[in-house]
Amino acid sequence: MSLKNHFDMLVIGSGPAGQKAAIQGAKAGKRVAMVERDKQVGGACVHHGTIPSKTLRESALNMVRFQRTSNVFDFRLRDDLTVPALIERLDEVIQAHSAFMAAQLDRNQVTRFHARAKFVSEHEVEFTTPKRTTERYSADVIVVATGSRPRRPDNVPVDHEHILDSDSILSMTYLPKTLTVLGGGVIASEYASFFALLGVQVVMIDQADRPVRFMDAEITDGFVQAFQATGGRYYGEQKIEEVKWDGLSKVMTRLGNGETLDSEKMLMALGRVANIEDLNLAAVGIEPTPRGLIPVDEFFRTTLPHVYAVGDVIGPPSLASCSMEQGRRAACHALEIDPGHPAEMVPMGIFTVPEMSSVGITEEKAVSRHGGGALVGRARFQEIARGQISGMTDGLLKLVADPQGKKLLGVHIVGEGATELVHIGQMGLLAQVEIDHFVENIFNFPTMAETYRVAALDIVKQRPR
């Protein structure tokens, strides 16, 4: 292998995880290469996931804001409203984001390749370009960050025309009248809430009794209520027997209870699978888990000590924020750089309408940990001046404390701005601040931060005397 084809670090995939690994490696003065199968950098996060869906969300929210001012403006939705019109800024946003990331990689002298990559030996990777040319490169350290794609269950014939997945849902050119969303996870909940807000009759179907089960039940209840208020319906504890396009005008979903639901379009969002097929992992003896993920240790090392895996390819939490940190930490570990203390707690942010966010432990966990004595303080957005001013009255902030009502254990929020508001709680948890701090300190008024004080006061009054 010539010196030209040898790198200190080779990163496979340019999503959030790969990008941060590459930048960390380059900043440490190493010769780093990154290979990406798509033309542009960014991965699914930029091209099919986070960025496009949030652009649609922004449009849906803008509409709600207009609707709130309907006493001032004569606002109504155009009958011929198209999806591209709703996300007309999308290309601009994607181009800008992708160009920014490419520039950052170039600035840090990361060598970029456009190709698919597969292992040929423990240190060697073969690149195949769309034009079928191949070349081999080697590296001391290899970071796998190939991401994931929508799962395709056998009983759901995704055709990207009537039955779509999260990669194709935004290719629709018009808003359907009805939409069935299969799944109750983050992607399903986000899209279901956006489309419901845009006036589409949405039914979410899932096996679980409530969506996004890893979140606090009171928070998801708040979300379901808001979703149903926009005309959506959550249909839980259902088994999907069969899905088919009737060839006429509707997608038919046959449930385990014998019921059949019809809709114009369907979004299939029943999980994601890791992109590992092209990697030829067998060549280097890396055995995927039964769920098709790459197993790693606490430092993100695979069974080969110089091969790391980060991001969606190793499984949950599959959040861009976590993937970035995984990429950085993997590169640090490989290059023997101190990565600092590991994040003790990761905030969960779900960009549904309304948003849901949490950090720390749930009420349920606190109760089981403290023998049923956990104290919970609540602040409803309608009680907060800023909530009233901004018209954001549907929301709840919930603080979970120890049985003495002193120590903060968790923060759970549903409502607009939840994903930002949670960071106050996150810093509080990290600094181990007591509940009293939220009562004794001054927050700007009127702001949503006041919810912390209201919820803390709620805990104070429940303290054992």
Binding site: D38, D91, T128, H160, S171, T173, D246, G247, L248
Partner: protein, 288 residues
């Protein structure tokens, strides 16, 4: 013909070309009307509240179209379980969208792709249009682009060709000259984009169709990045290839700029080549 042009000694093909340019510039080219049935089918199939019975009734209003649709519906490509004898049965077997697509296709063929004396050439253009429409759907599906609209873009991307042919025939008749097919072909190639774009604008078809026509030959010029022109461009190449109009081997095809632009890897292209038989079968079924 303008005096300025008449005074210059031009070859017949140049004279016709000059007249065509002049008519296009002055907006004097006779553009055909989109067949009434096609317009109504388009409106109906894009109306989410439309019912199947309405579509069946609409198609039946034009006996020629209804007959052709039934013939296609009974062909091997659509494999009915039992012979389809009524439009209602066709709707129920093929589905509203597919039947709408068929009716639209047939009525465009009847209304635009009919030029007396040039039947083999027109049939060849028509087969290319059909194959492009069908291929466009598969390319869009593979790239997670809009599948529904891709067919119409592929089907109509060369709609300007039969219109230009009709215009050239009229002009050559008025000038008492006769061109060889090669000269016709050159004129069609030069003018079909502008004429086709004007026609679909007049017919008030979705803007993506005009974009596909205007930019399928040079997709890099599309003002706003959109995959429509790229998808149509590749559909045109693949369709020409399977119809033997422009034989490129698989390896050469992989080097086309559009393949690179759509980020298609060899296995993606293999998958598209693998659709050839299915598409040819559907084309054969639709060419009545």
């Amino acid at each position: 013909m303008p005096d300025a042009l008449a005074s210059v000694e031009l070859e017949p093909v140049e004279q016709i070309h000059a007249t065509l340019v002049d008519r296009i510039a002055k907006d004097e080219l006779k553009l055909p009307l989109l067949p009434q049935v096609a317009t109504e089918v388009l409106n109906l199939t894009s109306d989410p509240d439309a019912d199947m019975a309405k579509l069946a009734t609409l198609i039946q209003q034009d006996q020629a179209i209804a007959g052709q649709v039934l013939k296609i519906a009974n062909s091997a490509a659509y494999a009915p379980r039992s012979p389809i004898v009524s439009m209602q049965q066709a709707v129920s077997w093929l589905g509203m969208k597919m039947l709408g697509e068929l009716a639209l296709t047939v009525s465009i063929e009847n209304g635009v792709f009919r030029v007396q004396g040039y039947e083999p050439e027109i049939t060849s253009l028509w087969r290319q249009a059909l194959a492009s429409g069908l291929y466009a759907k598969e390319i869009a599906r593979q790239g997670r682009h809009n599948v529904e609209g891709a067919f119409l873009c592929g089907l109509l991307h060369t709609i300007g060709k039969p219109i230009v042919l009709q215009a050239v025939l009229e002009i050559q008749h008025s000038m008492s000259i006769t061109l060889e097919w090669q000269a016709f072909s050159m004129l069609l190639d030069v003018h079909h984009v502008q004429v086709g774009a004007a026609a679909v604008e007049k017919w008030k078809l979705p803007p993506q169709v005009k974009e596909a026509i205007l930019y399928y030959r040079d997709f890099t010029q599309v003002p706003n990045p959109s995959p429509v022109a790229m998808v149509t461009c590749l559909a045109d190449c693949l369709a020409s290839n399977i119809l033997g109009l422009d034989l490129l081997d698989a390896t050469t095809m992989e080097t086309l700029p559009v393949v690179d632009a759509l980020n298609l890897y060899p296995d993606d292209m293999d998958e598209l080549h693998g659709q050839a038989d299915k598409i040819l079968q559907a084309v054969d079924a639709m060419v009545v």
